[in-house]
């Protein structure tokens, strides 16, 4: 019964997220609104960690598995990438290195300034 209660809270947060998205027509995915709502509920103490942690940890530790069908769908969109593989990889490599460097130095710079105070 413990698990069913946890599932109810998690799916409840998701459902409210979807409802908010539909009603307010905001371009934020319902599941992300659900994430924010559950975080706020945990933060304010409305929901205790024990009330969701088993199911959350289960879902999180199996997250990669859940993406298989989404990735397999690439077989129906393959023509989008054929002929574009070089730009595809070039964009990924350049952006990933740039983002890493930008983030690293921004954090380092700001932390450095703080530690002098």
């Amino acid at each position: 019964l413990k698990y069913l209660g946890q599932i109810a809270i998690i799916t409840g947060a998701y459902f409210i997220g979807e409802a908010i998205q539909t009603l307010l027509k905001i371009p934020v995915p319902g599941a992300v609104i659900g994430l924010i709502l559950l975080f706020l509920a945990l933060y304010t103490g409305l929901i205790k960690v024990e009330m969701v942690e088993d199911v959350c940890d289960f879902l999180l530790s199996h997250m990669s598995f859940f993406f298989i069908p989404a990735g397999v769908a690439l077989m129906t969109n393959f023509e989008m990438l054929s002929g574009n593989w070089i730009p595809f990889f070039a964009i990924i490599i350049i952006t990933t290195i740039l983002v890493w460097l930008v983030t690293f130095y921004v954090v380092k710079l700001l932390k450095g300034e703080n530690s002098h105070e």
Partner: protein, 234 residues
């Protein structure tokens, strides 16, 4: 035979087998390139292509698996809550790092996609590639991209980031665990975080926290920056 293939059990079963195979390869070879999810996706696509089974048939079972993505996304709230005390200790560097990381990721992708002359659909599919898969896929769908392309781009970004990140860190010879963790989370989401966890506890925790916040930030930044790009260039 075609009746059997249309049964939801079929898609579920071959996904489970493919993932086990992927996990086995990863365990044996221990290299970041062998990501279990990527291997599983390739195996299922190969199997379906060779046996001439359509994606629609596979997806009777696939849908059951995909359904779990939504509650799994909501579950990201828990690690965010657990690591939030780290955020409060470093509010300014974390916020600035994530913001600059997300903005540079989106801007660089749009710029390079334009340079290569990629279609709008493909560009939109690539924009959320630095963030965690559940949020990235949702952003892609919302903006008019093609989610499967985004999923594959996100996985490849994660794999590459988990190789280049630690390499840059060694080459630069700057010892800063917090900056390292935030850079891993902002450039290569969950796969980078898994690598950061191997490197150290602080790096892993900072990376995990960053991954969640960067994902949420991109939900708002990506459509805004895309609109700005359209206004300026068209």
């Amino acid at each position: 035979m075609s009746e059997l293939v249309k049964s939801p059990v079929f898609g579920l079963l071959i996904s489970l087998i493919a993932f086990q195979a992927g996990a086995y390869v990863k365990k044996k070879l221990k290299l970041s390139v062998f990501n279990p999810l990527l291997i599983a996706i390739i195996l299922v696509i190969l199997f379906l292509t060779l046996t001439n089974i359509s994606y629609e048939d596979y997806n009777y079972g696939g849908r059951m698996i995909s359904f779990f993505l939504y509650p799994a996304t909501v579950s990201l709230a828990l690690p965010l809550y657990r690591k939030f005390h780290l955020f409060r200790k470093n509010v300014l560097p974390i916020c600035a790092g994530i913001l600059c990381g997300a903005v540079s990721s989106i801007a660089c992708t749009i710029f390079l996609a334009r340079l290569f002359g990629l279609s709008e659909k493909l560009t939109l599919s690539l924009i959320p590639k630095s963030i965690t898969t559940p949020i990235g896929m949702a952003v892609s769908e919302q903006m008019g991209g093609v989610p499967p392309v985004t999923v594959v781009a996100i996985i490849i970004t994660g794999i590459l980031g988990s190789i280049t990140g630690p390499f840059l860190y060694r080459v630069l010879k700057i010892n800063d665990k917090v900056a390292m963790g935030i850079a891993m989370g902002s450039s290569s989401h969950a796969i980078g975080t898994a690598k950061a966890v191997e490197i150290g506890e602080t790096e892993g925790a900072m990376s995990g926290l960053t991954m969640a916040i960067a994902g949420i930030a991109t939900v708002f930044l990506a459509p805004a920056m895309w609109k700005l790009y359209l206004i300026i260039f068209q």
